[in-house]
Symmetry: C2
Subunit: 707 residues, 2 copies
């Protein structure tokens, strides 16, 4: 355990806590903290700090923390102006950590950010960790410790369990505590980190990975301070068998603006997030409360070992609707084996489907047993990865639910119980809670649970193939060092590509029309003529791309057109010359590129090109570098994958060469790091299988070299 983790461990498992701004009034932050500390029975030492009171809630208070008898953690609920001095006191007294609830820091702008930095400096000067500001503290139910002002703690008991929660929102933590209570699930620690001025989400993830009480990690994220660290931790969590489930705010432009004003978080690109999470086995959910459902399910059942699901219900209507929704959610209905089907047929009236399975109105003679037998038959079938039981009103409901739940917990098949009616079936809910069997109340959540579990199982079984070392990196870096900062021209970009072994047209800059004509004669007409000008971003918009030039006189005219177009488009810009390229037809046009992402570093992107780009938004990405085998997975996930594979009698495209080019570009992106701001090959023409790929056009931007 490294020292940062052991410090956090001391803070989250304190022997003593001080409440700076303690009060007996539950309408105040410091009052609620005191009340919850006492109410939930924290057995460590509680030190209320109050300028005048002799005691708070019958606990002796002190006006100021003393040195020599340090508390492990202080919680501060004070007006912002009083914070620096109070934090100094905590530090001088030797506290390991300070939790700052007060808001109005970086989230309100530059002045707040400066105040926040000042707090961090104070904490660092005393070797003290700072949680917050703009947070709601944390709970450690295993210690009966509620170090928070959240009104969620008004309800007893604190839900103790194996979920480690780290949230940038205090209010969402409260909602999740409430849902855990309702379900009979619970937390090892649930903590809020607010603006992440010092202690950040990744610190908690690392703590949870090493914490024996934690079996699943839930995160509500507005922004990450260090994406690479997060991914490294995700790998460790996977190795430790602890699933990470995350909700990330800022998928929309509106959401991104809110993360800034809420916790001063830069949301980053959600698409990059999605790609990173998928490749690193992090279950990305769209709904905070569903974190609890999914984590609880994975803790109790583990990940499914097959990806198809079986659906059963005692209601025919529910069976039909649930089957529809399972398919619409992108899950696959399992096909049970012949033996399972034969056994089920013995129980069922004629005409019934096997999956989804209507177990309503089974012959009375088999009574309750048949509903249980049906479950057990599905559960022991290896083709079934998980089972969804949609519980609707039916006679003997509670008994059936108890039997299904017990069988699910005793067996090895992950089973999601859904109770669709309202409070009418609370008896069945309580029966499940009593045996600690997870359930959901809405099909939306059941589907989230099953999808997360299936995806996590797949991620465990199929981690992305690692990228292997490349031989071209030294030459590439030397070449890039010699290139100018800023926008590269098409020929410059293509030399960079060729350094990595990516095939491009063999462009040579022609300074005059005559030189271009000479080149065209060597290549053979028809040719393409393109103007080269460093300041020109979109060549087509300036009319600087002329296709299908048939002869020398047409080339002369084209050159003049390009020169005129450039002057009109970018007055004062200099035409450095033109490049002549062969007119290549056929093949499939893709876009392949890379970006430097401020959170995750180098990212490789690929998708379909041409007019389809805007309609399909058919794009896949991954954190670079990736292997060719990994690149193939991206290609397979494209919507145009069937076209590339040779749909409707078309010849298959050279997917091996495409994957190789993507992998090489990703290696380049990772090797050049922040120096390569972005690079786009558009189009990369993919020929028929065996005939390779060729970059027809490309552009790139280099950042100023780091000094």
């Amino acid at each position: 355990m490294n020292s940062a983790v052991s410090t956090l461990r001391a803070i989250l498992n304190p022997r003593s806590v001080a409440v700076i701004g303690a009060s007996g009034d539950p309408a105040k932050f410091g009052g609620r903290v005191m009340h919850f500390l006492v109410k939930h029975g924290y057995r460590g030492r509680i030190v209320p700090v109050h300028p005048t009171a002799a005691e708070v809630l019958s606990i002796p208070a002190i006006p100021k923390l003393a040195t020599g008898d340090p508390v492990d953690v202080c919680i501060l609920a004070l007006p912002a102006a009083l914070l620096p001095a109070a934090l100094e006191d905590c530090g001088r007294a030797g506290a390991r950590g300070a939790v700052v609830i007060t808001a109005d820091f970086a989230e309100t702008g530059a002045a707040g950010a400066a105040r926040q930095d000042a707090l961090v400096q104070i904490a660092r000067s005393h070797d003290m960790r700072l949680i917050g500001p703009n947070c709601l503290g944390y709970i450690n139910p295993h210690l009966q410790l509620a170090l928070t002002s959240s009104v969620a703690l008004a309800v007893e008991p604190m839900p103790r369990g194996a979920i480690g929660l780290a949230s940038q929102s205090g209010s969402l933590m409260a909602s999740l505590i409430s849902h855990a209570q309702d379900l009979g699930a619970g937390f090892s620690v649930a903590a809020t980190v607010g603006n992440q001025a010092d202690v950040e989400l990744c610190d908690l993830v690392e703590y949870f990975i090493e914490d024996d009480n934690t079996r699943a990690i839930c995160l509500y994220i507005e922004g990450l301070n260090d994406g690479a660290r997060f991914l490294a931790l995700a790998q460790r969590a996977r190795a430790a068998g602890k699933p990470i489930l995350a909700v990330k705010a800022g998928r929309s432009a509106a959401g991104q603006q809110v993360t800034q004003s809420h916790t001063a978080s830069l949301a980053g690109s959600y698409a990059v997030w999605e790609a990173a999470c998928r490749d690193h086995g992090v279950c990305l959910l769209d709904d905070p409360e569903a974190l609890i459902y999914c984590a609880d399910f994975l803790i109790r059942f583990g990940a499914p070992t097959a990806s198809s699901v079986a659906v059963m219900s005692p209601s025919g209507g529910t069976v039909a609707v649930t089957g529809d929704r399972v398919v619409a959610a992108g899950l696959t209905l399992a096909e049970p084996g012949a033996a399972t089907v034969a056994e089920l047929r013995k129980l069922l009236p004629p005409g019934r489907t096997i999956n989804p399975l209507d177990v309503g109105g089974l012959p009375r003679t088999s009574g309750l047993d048949s509903a249980l037998t049906a479950y057990e038959l599905l559960a022991k079938d290896p083709a079934v990865g998980a089972i969804l039981i949609a519980v609707a009103t039916t006679p003997q409901l509670e008994d059936k639910v108890r039997q299904w739940g017990s069988a699910a917990l005793a067996g090895s098949k992950p089973t999601a119980l859904l109770l669709t009616p309202g409070t009418l079936v609370d008896g069945a809910r309580n029966a499940l809670k009593k045996i600690a069997c997870p359930y959901t109340n809405r099909l939306d959540d059941t589907l989230r649970v099953l999808r997360a579990a299936v995806e996590y199982g797949e991620a465990l079984r199929n981690p992305p193939p690692p990228a292997s070392p490349s031989s071209f990196i030294a030459a590439l870096c030397a070449h890039a060092a010699a290139l100018p900062d800023g926008r590269l021209t098409e020929p410059e970009t293509k030399t960079l590509l060729r350094t990595c072994g990516i095939h491009t047209t063999d462009d040579v800059l022609a300074a005059t029309p005559d030189a271009a004509i000479e080149q065209a004669q060597r290549i053979g007409y028809p040719v393409v003529l393109k103007g080269v000008c460093r300041d020109l971003v979109h060549k087509s918009d300036a009319g600087a791309v002329k296709l299908n030039i048939a002869d020398a006189s047409a080339l002369q005219i084209a050159w003049q057109d390009i020169a005129r177009g450039l002057s009109a488009h970018l007055p004062g810009a200099t035409l450095a010359g033109c490049v002549v390229q062969p007119m290549i037809r056929g093949g499939t046009e893709l876009i392949v590129g890379c970006r430097w992402d401020p959170q995750f570093g180098a990212v490789v992107i690929m998708g379909c090109g041409g007019v389809l780009v805007e309609i399909l938004n058919d794009v896949q990405m991954a954190i670079a570098p990736i292997s060719a085998a990994h690149a193939k997975r991206l290609i397979e996930r494209l919507r145009i994958a069937p076209v590339l594979a040779g749909a409707r009698g078309r010849p298959p495209a050279d997917i091996n060469a495409l994957a190789d080019a993507i992998s090489k570009l990703s290696t380049m992106a990772a090797a050049l790091g922040p120096r390569l701001t972005e690079l786009d090959i558009n189009p990369l023409l993919v020929h028929e299988s065996g005939n390779g790929v060729i970059a027809l056009d490309a552009r790139a931007t280099l950042a100023a070299s780091t000094p």
Copy 2:
């Protein structure tokens, strides 16, 4: 009110009911029915029918219904074998209706279907309506009448309200009753129709339209007996201001199989359903329980008069996530006007976004008022169609929620309150229930409510432009009458199209290569040569389409190729000849067609053509006939609409001509009815704006003329 409706009215509002198979044992169907009748306090006459008992639950029983003193409705929960005789008794005694709970009829196969038909015959012979079989009866809370064996009725009181529910599933009715109870919503009548042997969903829709107690209509549908009747009723419901909300099972193949085995329902094409519902203002939902949420919301608030929504919450994290989800759900975030923004800014800390709006931690001096003021500012802004308040834990939660709810009910802006935490905030839920303000517990449902309300509002404001009469119908019908049954050839199909004024290539069948060469010379090379053979479905697969033929000798070779290809592909088939067409380049290829749908009749379909068909599944459809203005709406909904409109500097396509062709084809489909099984124009080439469209290829199948 027509007589069918008045009969149903008598059955659903009976003065007297008989329970055939009455029992005092609540474990039996007839026992539960008796218990619920008594328990809920039905004040009409209850007549238990039992072969031997003198009384059931202290109510005098009779062994057999007597004539001369008819009950309005009988409910039968008997073994199938006893049903025919018992139903005869009901009919002879003069009952207006019989409710048959017993299952094992058409849903189990042909023998069951015959038994079911026999029941219907008995009912009809006595002029008695039959509800079921395989149903769970109904409730009429306005009469305190529970004529059902559903265990949902174990809970009191029956939820009385303005929702009319008709369900093919008894279990789903039970779940919906439970949810209505939890929300404080209720029913005018909730009825199950099971196999719809006689009384069907549309009968109930018609009843609800005319019923003063009903203000919104909810349907759970597995299959419709008469799609055209449903659409006519949808129009009446819209005129009556009563929204119809429906869940339709059978969206997936799996779901379709279940509807067959559950209620012997033919699910039909879900895509046609979606199109029909959208055009007729029916809100199609994917979740049964959400029917209650959406109906309750529309009853209390009516439809929004603008389509954009505002989001507010006292939790920053919830604001961010909710904003993301609203956008992901396809809803639009409203942009409040400058005056609203200026007023809001006075309340807010710096940096906050306006929509979604974080109303947490507003200055203490404004206390509760500021949270209410923020709501009222948004509510009075005309750019805001509806408001979503995501309630998270916050101090003074109940007071705030009560104020928001009261303001929502008192004002004119539809407002969806979402309470994300669990039982922790049940106090706030009860506060809303007490003032009869709708709310939801999960964002999924809130989004369903808002989407349904917004879509319903749009449907009210923008009904599809009606199709106007066409002049070509008489000529078309005469022409079609002269065509053979079965598959038409390409030239035959094109003559049909030209009859309606749809532009096609002007094909003349050439019987010999020489005749073809003569035509080609007239048209001008290059040309297209296509084999014509009635038995050939897919010309391309047989190599019967030769493009880009440059001269007479190439045409000779192409003809021989076509002849050889046909022999190889379809041994024994006769090549009737070939057609010669000009080689037309450019334009955008679409597919336009029509189908005869067994539930809804003639349907017109259009979508993008070529290789994109399989990748995009970019298809729109409508029940025929439709006007050109309506066809334009279909075109605008295509994903390739931006390409047709002229994206990225492309010339815009001739959308007017395309819409006109679609409208004409739809008119043809409606006019020819079931005679035209299907017709596909593939491709229909759409030229640049002003240059029209042309059908390059087409095929059709005619059903045997109805005698």
